[in-house]
Symmetry: C2
Subunit: 201 residues, 2 copies
Amino acid sequence: MIRLLLADDQALVRGALAALLDLETDLEVVAQVGRGDEVLDAARQSGAEVCLLDIEMPGLTGLEVAERLRAELPAVRSLIVTTFGRPGYVRRALDAGAAGFVVKDTPARELADAVRRVHAGLRVVDPTLAAESLMAGPSPLTAREAEILRLALDGSPVATIARAAHLSQGTVRNHLSAAIGKTGAATRAEAARIAHARGWL
Amino acid sequence: MIRLLLADDQALVRGALAALLDLETDLEVVAQVGRGDEVLDAARQSGAEVCLLDIEMPGLTGLEVAERLRAELPAVRSLIVTTFGRPGYVRRALDAGAAGFVVKDTPARELADAVRRVHAGLRVVDPTLAAESLMAGPSPLTAREAEILRLALDGSPVATIARAAHLSQGTVRNHLSAAIGKTGAATRAEAARIAHARGWL
DNA sequence: ACCTGGCCATGACACCTGTCACGGCCCCGA
DNA sequence: TCGGGGCCGTGACAGGTGTCATGGCCAGGT
């Protein structure tokens, strides 16, 4: 009996996944949480062996959770289950200590197998996704450029970004210009979209 | 036995919802599709009585599907099941003939009840969502303003938008200016975000 | 000691954007 | 018949944006 923990911010999806996995005779969902910062406590109390983690959750990112799980509960395996197959996410997930990476597009019947493989100590990564991840390569953005671009994601004007980052407007525009160049974009909005889609933010 | 059709672009979510609903003794999932434009055929062939529709799908929107179902298969009830509780979506869903509107945040146990209510001919709408929908009111945007704003969503420059819409740049800027004024935004990026969040696009 | 590269900043320039005033064309309701 | 309002366009202006050159500071590697 493999003991599972589910972390996803959408209650309906969480419950549905639980129903799906409980159909398997060798799997048992022992805990469900809707926030990233509730995973560690729940994992400790439930004695979960494998954690299915969504990436975009309130509190903590699934990637951050995977990192903390590795540090504090090294016996627990993390399996990232996310909507977005952004290339950069795969690399970051593996760096964070995740044992697997699955997108929500994959057929339902394959999920249970992924869980079993991860539990057995294997690494599970969507093959097409792994290829994309290698193709795209690592992020060319510096830390500051990524930070500025994150602030520019919603289309804020330079003045707002500068205040938020405690920088001068000129510096912000320089970072944005560099990011535009590195992403091959024409405007900062496009640069932000590209970097976001690649998982560089 | 209530016959259900599931439409959601994420295979994993689709399969998980099927597992969840099949647990109920009076419900039966008779068809699953991953695209909006496959729903009608599938509904006809499977003889589904209730269709669970995600809004954002390739091919056709869940809202558009609801409209066509009402026109061509009036006996079939539509239940919108979506991630985003945008106020404008609720109104548009009901106008399109949907019998219910549920967000993916709702507890899993309530979904089966929503299906039964819809099948019984009742309307099901998340109460807090209904309140928000009334609060926000209808879209103040004209058709063209909404179209231009849709094209501006990704941060394209005015020249690109103008080409895409077959308009002069001046006209595009006028429409954008009007939209910025009506949304109370400061930039077109913010206006696009606001309108999108309200379900006006 | 030297050079490279990230980071911060300034100033100047060309260009893009947001706003406003204005005019014209339609359709619809009073 | 006469507005009113949506729609399209022009022109002009102030301010925001993207680019470039330049300079200083600091950490790291040769």
